[in-house]
Assembly symmetry: C2
Homo-oligomer: 315 residues x 2
Amino acid sequence: MSGREHFLAISGGVGGAKLALGLARVLAADQLTVVANTADDFEHLGLHIAPDLDTVMYTLAGINNSQQGWGLEGESWQMLEALQVLGGETWFRLGDRDLATHLYRSERLREGESLSAVTAELCRQLGIGQRLLPMTDDPVRTVVHTDQGELPFQHYFVREQCRPAVSDFHFQGIEQARPQRELLELLAGETLAAIIICPSNPFVSVDPVLGLPGLKQAIMDSGAPVIAVSPIVGGIAIKGPAAKMMAELGLPVTAAAVARHYTGLVNSFVLDEGDATLAPEIEDLGMNVELAPTIMKTLADREQLARRVIELAKV
Amino acid sequence: MSGREHFLAISGGVGGAKLALGLARVLAADQLTVVANTADDFEHLGLHIAPDLDTVMYTLAGINNSQQGWGLEGESWQMLEALQVLGGETWFRLGDRDLATHLYRSERLREGESLSAVTAELCRQLGIGQRLLPMTDDPVRTVVHTDQGELPFQHYFVREQCRPAVSDFHFQGIEQARPQRELLELLAGETLAAIIICPSNPFVSVDPVLGLPGLKQAIMDSGAPVIAVSPIVGGIAIKGPAAKMMAELGLPVTAAAVARHYTGLVNSFVLDEGDATLAPEIEDLGMNVELAPTIMKTLADREQLARRVIELAKV
């Protein structure tokens, strides 16, 4: 497979960004493209906010708040405190430094720039050498069907703190959305060593990417192996509401159910060592199973998992 | 003049706000309406920014930064610092807490609220009992004619720090702008004890208000005395570029030249004690001249000047 040395990582927010950072640290900068979900983007106070894209961006730039799990390190909340006094909407926690990203991006979008062009500008300014792509420049918005009705994703996720029970999702605008051009070019080219589905929420982080018109087929036609890392370990989600959603959707809360969700697309499934008993069930889906420590607490954990995933591409 | 107990103050930014605060402290809350210039409003980073209106609002709320002369006390600059890293426009110093005002207002305006309605909301939340009115809800924008061409006001004032030499001004949109309804009602009513032109820049703070269609006539028809306080003392502007502008416009840099600017409108002119020699020249314009200490360093100074102005209304 000479010449096939580039890796494509599909990521949602925090969980995916951890593996993306691991990959960024063990690969050369020009060997990695990260495509981020933008279906959790939303407009708030007139700002275009792109939570998953920013989480990956801040993580790759090394300026993310690793304690808190989201947002920026050294963040302050003066604007939000003042907005509270004014009676404004404060349920979405906009930090002062984070605001600069939203103000800059929103202004550039109004000027007619594409989300991908603005993302490239931001990455350049933040010193990120890897390529970070929004999945599409077109608006796609996750709507969560719940026992309290249909909710825009951030209303479900942040305002309601994932409390409503989920029955389904749809991705508004996805039929008209075009997958990012550079993403399609990468898939159509001869440089891809593997496509990595990061340990992100299958329903609201990965599915919007895979659901873009033609993208699944382009992935299958690329000739590159598809490797997924389970976001569910020991029956719980490492981060976020994936486990709660699976239970509400009537699915077993297991890494095997995640693997089943990716049937027909994924060639290798990275399963946490503690879930080894699930291996036969996943192998039955036609996937190669790789056991690895998948909980990434330290930077070394991220690098180690990244190396295992990269090794798998050579199998 | 029984029943005539209400005062209308016309104000620009810092200088005018000082007297407005003095008036607010010596009058009952329902005895004062402040109308602020909005011709220095502008759109920046997608935000509707109203510098004079906010300076008056923050001053009346007691949360202005009195050291700095503009903005909020205890302000921080995290957003701006982060925006600089991103390569964004940082020439307009947007503080973190101040941003809350702009975000709130811009969102409400997008929702279809008027500037005056949003201003009333903000004042209520900030505990301001006096009525603060933007001069109009319609867009009026000061354009400064300079030796470097025509500049939008904030570009001249903040970005270029008033360096270009001024030859003229125009107020874009003023022909179509309607004076604030409550302002016209106040002028048409029977409650006004006096109209006070605060010590603000005559050309870029007061003229846009007076230039609104029909407003000068409404002031003259109101029957209330018009009292102006000189923003020029001893040949220099107490705050801002008024003196520099007068010199560039070929005017004498004196309080008398300010008085001459208001000829036919102003009945009483409050002149600083140090400028007493100018009194005869101003009296020749048909104005009553009142000598007073007009430099307001302390809160007591503001109150004292306010009392003198209020006394004048009874003459």
